[in-house]
Subunit: 111 residues, 2 copies
């Protein structure tokens, strides 16, 4: 996974553990793709302070993932769901097509 | 859910966000069911400090759940899984019994 994409997902998962100011700065940097200068202006914070917040929170988000593995677990669940759908496909034949399709739709909508 | 059981589950989910000392004390209190005096002796910490750690970490664990809702999400996933199994049961008849049983076992083992 590309580092910027990974950080944006980690921010989505663990963002609430950061302060509001930290969340704002990280959102503007990783989701809105603003430059340090733009974030500095937008948040009335010095460019150096913005840089420090990003560096510190980057580290914090990686530490949270190291401890709780939520991104890893989410990816694993997604893969398990895909494997289950594939497994159901592998059992499919003309006679059970309709019923297996119902089960697949239930899984897609609810898991 | 009984508060003590809930705290023990929250400790299991968020414990890694606590310091090692905090994890030790909380584990002895919520999982090993030791008294404050026993924990005090076991960890060479004053009874008052043990009490403070438990009170502080109790609050921290509830705050983590308020922010990340992992216990709530785990319970929701468990319920979705149960509902899916029930849904499959509701589609079951003599002709598809075997194949639906295979799908159920796959879900039980992998999701």
């Amino acid at each position: 996974m590309e580092e910027r994409v990974q950080l944006s997902i980690l921010l989505d998962i663990y963002g609430k553990l950061l302060t509001e100011k930290q969340q704002d700065v990280m959102d503007l940097y990783y989701n809105e793709d603003l430059s340090l200068a733009e974030i500095s202006e937008h948040t009335s914070t010095s460019r150096q302070a913005v840089y420090d917040i990003i560096r510190r929170c980057h580290k914090l988000l990686l530490q949270y993932e190291e401890k709780l593995h939520l991104l890893e677990k989410n990816e694993k669940l997604k893969k398990s769901k895909q494997s289950l759908l594939k497994f159901i496909d592998s059992l499919c034949c003309n006679e059970n097509k309709e019923i297996l399709s119902k089960i697949k739709n239930y899984i897609i909508d609810n898991i």
